[in-house]
């Protein structure tokens, strides 16, 4: 842990001297995590190139502001979430969600095909419901329910209180469950998910 911290500090130091190799290294170290989070928030790779680039540009632009109090990855996540929030706010609530799995590339038997088809449809319908949520609610729900981050961490990332974040997640969950009540495909997809108190 301490080694990782020192490595982060040294890497940031090198980035601040304008060393291109350090820029690449920082991007490579954190790109997969940032991409995964953004993907789970947005539900597709549409505009992902621009978003990922914008997130890291913001990171490098404010790198001098990293006071090494939070870990570098948490700080980068915070910047990425801000970029995602801005994107969601500017684009309005409607986000065009791409199919997550290429139908032609799915191997396997009939049962596997059915399961994959259900997953594909369920995910599409889930994000269609999320498209109707506000940016803050969508971020809170996806970061907590899909990205699996604890509520306190989500609250920290979105710059909100834990109570407000919890309320947003609860309301979003209510809307998803209401949609599932009227949509058997979404209900079946969610029905296979674990139920948590």
């Amino acid at each position: 842990m301490a080694t990782a911290y020192v490595e982060d500090v040294l890497l940031v130091d090198r980035c601040l001297t304008g060393e291109p190799a350090a820029t690449r290294e920082l991007f490579r170290r954190h790109r997969n995590r940032v991409h995964a989070s953004l993907f789970r928030v947005l539900g597709s790779n549409r505009d992902m190139d621009d978003l990922l680039q914008e997130a890291f540009i913001q990171v490098f632009q404010s790198l001098r502001g990293w006071r090494a109090e939070a870990s570098l990855s948490t700080w980068i996540d915070r910047v990425s979430v801000r970029v995602a929030y801005r994107y969601l706010s500017q684009r309005g609530r409607r986000i065009q969600t791409d199919p997550l799995i290429d139908e032609d590339s799915v191997p396997g038997g009939e049962a596997t095909d059915d399961r994959r088809q259900l997953a594909r449809d369920g995910v599409r319908r889930l994000y269609a419901v999320l498209d109707d949520l506000g940016a803050a609610a969508r971020l809170a729900f996806t970061l907590h329910e899909i990205d699996g981050r604890p509520l306190a961490e989500v609250a920290d990332l979105v710059g909100s209180s834990v109570t407000a974040t919890k309320l947003r997640v609860w309301r979003a969950r209510g809307k998803v469950e209401a949609a599932a009540a009227a949509d058997p495909v979404l209900r079946e997809f969610l029905g296979t998910a674990e139920v948590t108190p």
Partner: protein, 383 residues
Amino acid sequence: MTLRDRIPVEQLDDERLTNIERRLVIGVSELATKPARRGLPSLWFRGAGVVAIAAAAVIGWKLHTVPAAEPPPAAAAQHFAVTDGSKISLDGATLAGTASYDVTREPQRVVIEMQRGQIDLAVVHDPHRTLVIRAADTEIEDVGTRFRVDFDGASAVQVRVTEGEVKVTRHAQVVRVAAGNGWTTDRGLLALTELDPVVVASAAPTPLPAPVPVPVAPMRPHVPEVPVAHAQPRHVEATPVPHRETVAAPADPFVDLRTAIRAIPLERAPNIDGRTDAATEIAKLKKLAYSTTVGPEASQALYQIAVLLYRPLGQDAEALRTLDWYFRRFAGGKEMHAAMWLRVRIACDHVLDEACRRAAYSYQHDVPSGPASEVAVRITNAQ
């Protein structure tokens, strides 16, 4: 419900990632060269752009029948080479000394570009037309004053201010030098007592006539005794000045405080004077400081980099940033107190402001006794 791990992340292929990385490296390198962008909404930019284009089109249409005006003539530089101390009147300024320089009149300023030598100036400040002395990469702008500029023809510049104030700009850093103070490329701002230990009261040995405001005085083309074509600026030594037994106390109390600050030596400082040596030493120290091991060598190296950036390189902002890194990485390190004092010294080098007081307060808080702490207390309490 929990949907964790139930939604597969569709990975970006290598080509897309490589493209993003390439654009990112370019974007970051551009960030380093561009000034910080102001946060104007893009809509405003677009609106302003449309309005500007429309206005340009209307003006262009209105003017297209009017004969094009002659472009204003480019400001021509006049060369002066003065070797006998003759005085020159120039737009409200009186120049004396032995120097070789070009004068360019621009709409709102007169630029005197020194090749080498020494000029004593008495200037009546005109807010509509400032006088700027340029020597290599240093610019000295008068703010209504008497001052002297020495330039060795390469890079070393010395400024001595005896009345009023001048503004010295070098490497985008601006320093205001008030009466009783001087400035050099090597040492930055300092009291005249430090620059010329035996002379305090008069730094301008050649008595100059009182400056007479002349709105637009005709400039003498050149000093007739020295034909420009054959002018060979000789090596200029500082003119000997009469020795004075008594040293007058500086008028500005901050000068006294600053002298006290500088009287405290920097601990654990590397013994290097030359700029080239310092740059080489920094390169060596960086290898130690940026090594992955966090040991006493790394902490000492980082501190010494900060010292060298401050003196002799004069890169105060970089030195402060390096100190910030030191405090982050080596809080409690052997050089902690020395680093804190270095921060006081840099922060208080030019002006007694809030940053200077904050640095002094932190120091006196961490180091409650000792001569440096006493100075820090004086800084904290100074008005």
